[in-house]
Assembly symmetry: C2
Homo-oligomer: 670 residues x 2
Amino acid sequence: MNKTTWSQLWLDYGKKKGHVSCDKESIAVVLDGFSAENRVIKSLKSELEKAFDGLFDKKIAFADDAKSAEEKAYRITIAKNDSMAAESYKIEADSKTIKVVASCENGALYGVFHVIRELMRGTAIDAIKAECKPSNPLRMMNHWDNMDGSIERGYSGESFFYENNDIVISDRTRDYVRFMASVAVNGIVINNVNVKDAASYLITDRFFDKVRELTEIFADYGIKLYLSLNFASPIELGNLPVCDPLDKDVIKWWDDKFAEVYKKLPLLGGFLVKADSEGRPGPFTYGRNQADGANMLGKAIAPYGGIIIWRCFVYNCTQDWRDRKTDRARAGYDYFKELDGKFLDNVILQIKNGPMDFQIREPISPLIGGLTKTNQMLEVQIAQEYTGHQIDLCYLMPMFKEVLNFKTYCQKDNDTVADIVSGRSFGNKLAGMAAVINTGDNANWTGNYLAAANLYGFGRLAYDTELSSEEIAKEWAEMSFNLEGEETNKLVSMLMNSREIYEKYTSPLGIGWMVTPHEHYGPSIDGYEYSRWGTYHRADHLGIGVDRTDKGTGYAQQYYPENTENYNDPDKCPEELLLFFHHIAYDRKLKDGRTLIQYIYDSHFEGEAEAEKLFETWKGLEAHVEPEVFASVCHRFEMQIANAKEWRDQVNSYFYRKSGIPDEKGREIY
Amino acid sequence: MNKTTWSQLWLDYGKKKGHVSCDKESIAVVLDGFSAENRVIKSLKSELEKAFDGLFDKKIAFADDAKSAEEKAYRITIAKNDSMAAESYKIEADSKTIKVVASCENGALYGVFHVIRELMRGTAIDAIKAECKPSNPLRMMNHWDNMDGSIERGYSGESFFYENNDIVISDRTRDYVRFMASVAVNGIVINNVNVKDAASYLITDRFFDKVRELTEIFADYGIKLYLSLNFASPIELGNLPVCDPLDKDVIKWWDDKFAEVYKKLPLLGGFLVKADSEGRPGPFTYGRNQADGANMLGKAIAPYGGIIIWRCFVYNCTQDWRDRKTDRARAGYDYFKELDGKFLDNVILQIKNGPMDFQIREPISPLIGGLTKTNQMLEVQIAQEYTGHQIDLCYLMPMFKEVLNFKTYCQKDNDTVADIVSGRSFGNKLAGMAAVINTGDNANWTGNYLAAANLYGFGRLAYDTELSSEEIAKEWAEMSFNLEGEETNKLVSMLMNSREIYEKYTSPLGIGWMVTPHEHYGPSIDGYEYSRWGTYHRADHLGIGVDRTDKGTGYAQQYYPENTENYNDPDKCPEELLLFFHHIAYDRKLKDGRTLIQYIYDSHFEGEAEAEKLFETWKGLEAHVEPEVFASVCHRFEMQIANAKEWRDQVNSYFYRKSGIPDEKGREIY
């Protein structure tokens, strides 16, 4: 079933039929300054057609110019205004016409999707008004899809891009691209950053034809296709003995390769590279640094306007757990800070939001803003690797907002993460946000129906980082469901509380990890404690937490002084990050007077209870949600509650057994 | 390489050439009462031929009877004496002749292998003298080989029986059978007890021809081939809706199936069945008991002389770790004790040595001897699942000897495990020992060259449970290497100490487990602590161990009173099992005055240090061992020492962090 039918997500116009209305008798779309032959404009027209047909059962007419449109028709004018910023749009409407103005086709398309969104939310067409401008020039999705059809950290079925080491192109591909364009995503990396096996051949004749077809489908919706690249390609594909970025033969190989690639794939955006990380090859092998590697590729791709996105997720993953000096959290900054300013203009560093790996709570990577002379892009993960596998509800926009709003103190003003990654702080042209995507070939795309809020949300937020999490949740809920006002609020509040709830029953106070190794779902308190991955909680019978102050690993020193001062001092450290930065005694009093151990107990009991409440709230929506969606989400909540109970009981039992300190409230601990 | 060449193990006659001698100029083999046409006698002759050629470069002559043999030749007479016990033999020799007397071909074959063994060990042919009788009628190997070539818990490569869901028969198969016969194994189960996929079809036309060919090859060396059986075959192969053992259609299906099977495979020994265990189907599904299941099959197979071996490894594997009443250790006894006397004569229960699962130290299963009216067979594992994966040296005969010598008190005399499983205690005809085998398609068969001592040892011990571990180790060492006396002693003493060393650095005092989940190699102290497998250590900040006394799970009550009394009382409990039966405070004094926690620390430091000494001893043998063998074993020791260090440091750190009690000797704990 999941191969032949699939959800239309927030663009399910048919589902909204009868729930929203449009009082205009006839509609004409008029182009003013845009070419009807442009591929994006064609898509825009087709989307309007679909939407009006689906939402209102109305056919719409298309006119080449204002004169040829039917006199009495309500007009949707798509007008070009070259003075506007790229990909921005303006919408004005009155009783006769609605005008979407933009300087480029992408802006026009996003404006049209804005109109459709408002119509779906029940806004009268002549009441729609907007002026929107992208916060980030690059708004990207990263697929970790493998060509055998599996998805690394995928929780929504198999890949819809690949099957049996080949590329699959279908109507589903086109729908996916529509969804992405509807939230203004403009770049998509279609293969896993761990490039192996067949995926190494994506830049060869074996796959050029199909990749080209994909680049065309993407381009129809204003999206650039990117590929992840195997740094060892000169060895694997070119039979060279090395892939040393300073080796002449290697440089020539890449020069030739990119010439070939761009001849075959003129629309390609560029490449994403994971090098020297978790077993991937990279410049370190040859005593070179990360800039050597990135610049070699950047130089080779420059003639074609391509860009190189270089990931900063470089750390020692064969650490000794006995070693308390080496700190994985330090690694990104340690490797890249000294290279600030050494990267070419068409190279951009992609930096994970936190210094570890997508935990439910981490401090912001000190590299963001730590670099001031380098293009940088924020990487987040909407695939819920450590946040519930799309079984547990965990709406991530509140977390991303915290990240974006974080003041780095890298300069006097314009110093937040949002400022930096958008390019505003330092005037970078290459700048933006990327998300590791949460899709698969499940009929509903994201496993849990409600996880689509993250898919939708990331795009919206990347386009406009000023949007609140709540606004985004509301948009998504209104487009995706047919709920009454109060019910929508309930759903929005479920989403809004979900991250904190997940944090409470899993690993609060910034400690993170404590998950089942490899799988990353469910608790295993010591699962990563004696491992090679640099992920420790250091709990003993007296306390827990990692000393990352100047007396410990020194990680806190990687921030600008204003932040360092706070992080370095347990009394000033934000409590939600206390155990990330400090080893704290179980009997230490927290701000509200409770001891640490009591906080741990309380948090886990509360978190589990609140997860149950989420389920109760969902059950209250039964009458208003399609039965299949209702039942499927119920099943997810059943699993979430089982998971929450395991976390609650295992964490509490672990710390009770270790500390010997009983719960003040006498609740059951094993 | 491992597909085309392989070690000859302890039958490598060529390797002994020049190291042993035989002063007889010519040799003639004379049959007296045995038919030269018998398949086993043919094999016996061929083996003698190989041995004399390999060891001494001597051709031997074969005579149909005494008269036709060359006058001056030294004679090896194979004489029949019907009054002797089955599979026993007697050897007498003088300067003119050596006489191997037996009542059956298997006895003769084992006698000949005895002669060869002694020749390899340097005994003069006319000094060989023996009188040997099998302790156990059934001496079996259980392969956990899957038809896709994988081996469950295999640490020596892939299967040599299967490839790509088909059976492979080659010279390697024949050599394997020779090795097994040389240690008097007389039954082999060739497929995994978890019967799935292609293996379900072993009892269908798809595989009959090849299985038949295997039964013939096995029969040439006096070995019966057995198959593991899928209890759900009536459903999977027969399209019946159930596999209920009391269902008429099911009974008929099996009647017909066994008729078909024995028509095609007349030499088949019977079937091994794992039912109602770890997800396998079984009679419980239909509200039937284990006897219903076993007897249904037993009855159906009886007309053909086949037997049903029914495993007692039945327990709840979806237990809740919070539940301290349910005790996996109890399960076997709880399920089977009440069925004592209800099993048919051609059914035999196969009982693991301990109540858990092949840990480095467990008490003896109370089911052995707990049952007094039921055929029972001891199951041990020479595949080193929990004992070092054939990376770490762990010679298991000392453990098996402890098991065999255990006094159950099931009756006044003849009450040891050896007595019971041999049939001596209660007069059972079906009785014996089985081992989960440690072989694979590695060139050396067992991964670690030294692990072959377990392969050799199990057969020898099953044939003669009176042999000491040391004698067996010495035999194997002398046959497998060309070491001088003192060097042989060193190797033997390495083997003899290895189990205790492994126990010391892993999980002493009977606590067991604490291994990496699924994989079962390397430490994960809490790895199984919060799991569904019923395998807990219950450590808290005050103590560790599982209370299985009358105040705890009551497991200790499953023994006869003499044993219960000891196990139930921490002061009387054998110390090596203390934590299996009792939850003990870290500061409790053990017999030698040390506290429990100090014992834990000491044991782990000592164990690791002793593992290093093992390696040193091995290095001392370098000059006397083939370079390839030497290097390969060195590599294993390097891995073992790394493993021992992880165990030492993780266990010690875990208990230090939990108890807060420092090591008295101030050694490094993390």
